[in-house]
Each structure stands twice: as C-alpha cells, then as structure tokens.
C-alpha cells in the first residue's frame, strides 16, 4: 500500500456526546493533499483527533475500526509518540505557545531533530514563511492571526513530517493570506513529499489545492472523489457544502 494513512471501518464515540463517526473509510496517498470537508459538527475535528491520538484528552474513544499510519496500526499510540513517528498537526485554533518567542516555538517543533539538522530546517521554515524570520524574537502571542497560523505550520513542518494534519486553517483569516499559505503548503508537498490531510469549512479554497476530497455529513462519509469531481458537481456542493460559491465563513 502506498497510502501514508489508511483508515478502515472507523467509528468514534464520545463519553457524553455519543457516536461521532460511523464506519469511516479514508486514505491519504503518499505525497498527496486530501481535503476533508463538511459542515460544522460533521465530525471533522473528531477525525483529526482520532488519527493524532488526542481522543482520550477529549473523553472520546475508537469503538471500531483501524487506523494505519505508514503501514503501522496506530489506534492506541499516544500522541507524543506519533509525532516522533512523523505525524505532525496544526489543530483548530493554532495552539501556539503564546508566551514563548517565535524562535522558541519553532525550536519546540525541532526538538525531535538531531542537533545538526536544526539550523538548516529553521532556515527552510524561514524561507517558507519569511514573516516568521522578521518576527523571530517576538512573543508569539503578539502575532497576527495569519502569522500565528504560519508559526503553527512552521512548527509542525520543521521536523519534516511524513503526514501533516491541518484543522481549519482558514478560520478567521483573510482570503489572500489563506491562499498564500496554501500555496506554500503545496510547495512543501512537492519539495519534501509531505502528505497532507486538510480539514476545512471553506470548501472552495481547499478544493483549489487538494488532490482528492472527502465529504463528511453527520459522522459518515457522504462522498469521496477527486477534487475536480467535487468542484464541478453543483449537486454535491449544494447538498453537502452549503452553497455553490462557498466563500470564507459557511454555515
């Protein structure tokens, strides 16, 4: 299998909220960008948590199914171990270290790298997001929304992950900045071969950059296909994604 991520028959349940995902099948092929779309509450964030080992933190658990990362079963691997195995994530809300400097934030991400590689990788991230270089000694809490997003991505990418999970990148950001960031992500995909699973409410912009797309509707996969298939199907867009020209904030 050349899928970096292979999810089969996945069902997830929360202690208080009940069933959140039901019988999910999802694959992320190596080096590709996969978009995970759907309305608010469809279960997108739950999916990310299930993959990255954060479910128990939120009182959830996998009740059925298997998640394979790079061929290995990872259902019960703790989150910090997954990072070492090459899975990085940028959660909803970015979750940067507000009181640490930009540089320190990046160094946290670089902690799993061998000493010798840190300087090069730092430079690579600065190259990707020059704004971070400008602000490198500033407290991360003072950055703008877009810059914080770049920082979170930089921290996730600095250790050259095999798989990058991004949850709601566009939330609260201006469309121009979102586009710029996505373009950089594509560059990363091409140069490093990083595979990506992108969760987005803004379907339009995700479809512009993704290779394939899955649509989640109330805990189940309602559709999956190439990004083009989704983009060109008004029916799909109407049924599952709100409106024809989804723009910025949706339902």
């Amino acid at each position: 299998m050349n899928h970096v991520l292979n999810i089969e028959h996945l069902s997830v349940s929360y202690a208080r909220k009940g069933l959140a995902l039901e019988d999910i099948h999802l694959q992320v092929p190596k080096g590709k960008i996969v978009a995970l779309l759907g309305a608010n509450g469809a279960g997108k964030t739950t999916m990310i948590r299930a993959i990255s080992g954060l479910l128990s933190l939120h009182h959830g658990q996998i009740t059925q199914g298997q998640i394979h990362f790079d061929g290995q079963l990872i259902n019960s691997v703790p989150a910090h171990r997954l990072v070492r195995q090459g899975m990085a994530q940028v959660p909803e809300g970015r979750l940067i270290f507000k009181q640490l400097s930009v540089l320190d934030n990046l160094l946290v991400g670089a902690a799993i790298l061998p000493r010798a590689q840190v300087a090069d990788r730092l430079e690579a991230v600065y190259h990707l997001f020059p704004r971070l270089l400008e602000r490198k000694t500033q407290s991360a809490g003072w950055l703008s929304g877009g810059e914080q997003q770049m920082l979170a991505l930089g921290r996730a990418l600095i250790a050259k992950p095999q798989l990058l999970l991004v949850d709601e990148l566009s939330l609260g950001l201006a469309p121009l900045i979102v586009e710029a960031i996505y373009k950089q992500l594509v560059v990363v995909g091409e140069t490093l071969g990083t595979s990506m699973l992108i969760v987005e409410q803004n379907a339009r912009i995700a479809l512009e950059f993704a290779d394939t797309a899955y649509i989640l509707d109330r805990g189940r996969i309602a559709f999956n296909g190439t990004a083009d298939e989704v983009k060109n199907s008004d029916l799909i867009k109407d049924s599952y994604l709100g409106t024809r020209q989804t723009q910025g904030t949706t339902s």
Binding site: L95, Q99, V108, A111
Partner: protein, 288 residues
C-alpha cells in the same frame, strides 16, 4: 544594627526565594498548589542529617545524595499522587498535597524520632566583620548558594532543550501535546526540580536551626511569598521570598520574635484583597 538585620533578612529571603521558586515551577507545570512544599524543605534537612550523620558521607557526596533523594521523592509524588488525580477538582488536589504533608511528617517522626537533630556540616558558621556589621558566614553562604541555584535553573530553563520543552508545557498543555511533548515526563521533571529546590533550602534552614519537622512552618512561608510576588511569575517568587525574609527579620528584631507571622499574613491578606495576582504577576481574566 539595621544593616545587619537587612542583610540577614535578604539572606533568609534568598532561601525562601529558592523554596518559592520550586513551588512556582511545580505550579506552572501542573497547576498544583503544593502544600507539601514545607515538608519537602524538612525532608531536605533530614536528607542532610542522614547523609552526614547516619551514612557518614563526605559533604560533597551528601549534597549529591540530597539532590538525588529529593528528585526521586518529587518524581515519586508526581507519579503516584498527582498524575492519578489529573483533571480532578482543585479541592482534591490541594487535599492530596495536605495529606501528603501529614504522611511525610509522620514518617519522618517515626524514622528519626520527634526531637530535632543538629546538623554538623562543614558549612562555615563564623562571623566576619565589615566595618560595624557582623555578617554571618552561614547566611552569606546560604544566600550565595540560593542565588547560584536560582541562576542555574534559570539558565536550564532558558538555554537547554528540556528547559524549553518545560516552558512550553507550562505555557499550554494542549499545545505541548500537539507538538509531541510527553507531558507526563515534563511534569515529573517539574516536581523533581521543585523538590530539589525545597530540599536545598532545607539543608540551610536545617543548619541554621535544626533538622526538625518544625521547619515546616518556615518552609510554608514560601506560600505567602509566592502569592505576594505573583503566583505564575518566577521573578515574583524570588522577590516575594526576599520581601518575606526582610519582613520577618525586621519585625522579629524591632517588634517581637513572634510578630513576624502576623505582618507577613496581613500583607498576604492585603494583596489578596487588593491585587491578588501579586506584585509582579499579570492580571488574567477568569484566573482569579
């Protein structure tokens, strides 16, 4: 006279600052208010006693022994008492540290007997004269060592990789998990460090007085120190410690030995009513 009192106030204050620093490290990492910090100070004094008098170790080895024993104790406490209670109510966690202090006190008194023990360390106990002032060498040494420890840990947090990860964990638990940091290990480390700092304070307080469980109330002065300085602020903790030391010595000399408690705790009350986030803390919405 005043100069002397100020000096001993600052010297003792440095020890309190050290203990308070340990307290803040624990608090910033695990958000636990460690009521047992006073007893950890006492443990330090007894570890010193054990090393010197019972095991007959040379002094440098005793220091190593104290640090190791305190670190292991701290890690143990986190692993078996604090981690199992993660996510529980604040009362439960406060209570567990209070109960811990009861248990440690009982174990120490059973093991060593209820009487205090004199420590005989090679630490200098003489006096040297600077003009009119009689400076206690022990006080001076205590202050110097305390400041060195604080500087050492400051450097550790600022310049090492592990220190960075600990700072990150204290900043945001969730972000730390997401970044691949093993939170439990970081927290255990914080408790180990906090205990070591308390134990070093205990070594000096034990030499200044006695190795006895009565030292707990002195160790507990770290709590008002931390609040006065600012709970989440490392410089605040240190300055809080210095302030408490100064108030203690000034009131003990010029008013009465027992009056120091009341000045410190009245100040604590004032701070809580007027500026609860401490002199150097930052007001955070919803925290208080």
């Amino acid at each position: 006279m005043l100069g002397q009192v100020l000096f001993s106030g600052l010297a003792l204050g440095s020890i309190y600052g050290l203990v308070a620093l340990g307290f803040v490290v624990i608090f910033k990492a695990t958000e636990v208010f460690n009521f047992a910090q006073g007893m950890l100070v006492v443990c330090g004094a007894f570890f010193a006693y054990t090393g010197i008098m019972l095991l007959g170790l040379p002094f440098p080895m005793t220091i190593v022994f104290i640090v190791l024993a305190a670190a292991i104790l701290g890690a143990f406490i986190h692993a078996f008492l604090i981690q199992p209670l993660a996510g529980r109510s604040m009362l439960s966690i406060i209570m567990v540290t209070i109960a811990l202090s009861i248990v440690i006190r009982a174990v120490l008194e059973i093991t060593y007997g209820p009487q205090g023990k004199t420590l005989q360390t090679p630490l200098p106990t003489g006096i040297f004269l600077v003009g009119d002032l009689r400076i206690s060498q022990l006080h001076l040494t205590a202050a110097l060592v305390s400041w060195s420890c604080m500087a050492m840990f400051g450097a550790f947090f600022k310049f090492t990789s592990v220190g960075l990860l600990m700072r990150a964990t204290a900043d945001s638990h969730e972000a730390a998990v997401v970044s691949g940091i093993n939170i439990n290990v970081m927290n255990r480390l914080a408790w180990a460090i906090g205990s070591v700092l308390a134990a070093v304070g205990g070594l000096f307080l034990g030499q200044l007085q006695l190795a006895s469980t009565e030292l707990e109330s002195i160790g507990l002065l770290a709590l008002p120190a931390v609040v006065i300085g600012g709970m989440q602020s490392i410089p605040g903790a240190i300055i809080g410690g210095l302030l408490v030391g100064l108030i203690e010595q000034l009131s003990a000399t010029y008013i009465s030995p027992k009056s120091s408690d009341i000045f410190i705790y009245v100040l604590l009350m004032l701070i809580l009513m007027v500026r609860p986030w401490g002199l150097f803390g930052q007001q955070e919405l919803g925290r208080v």
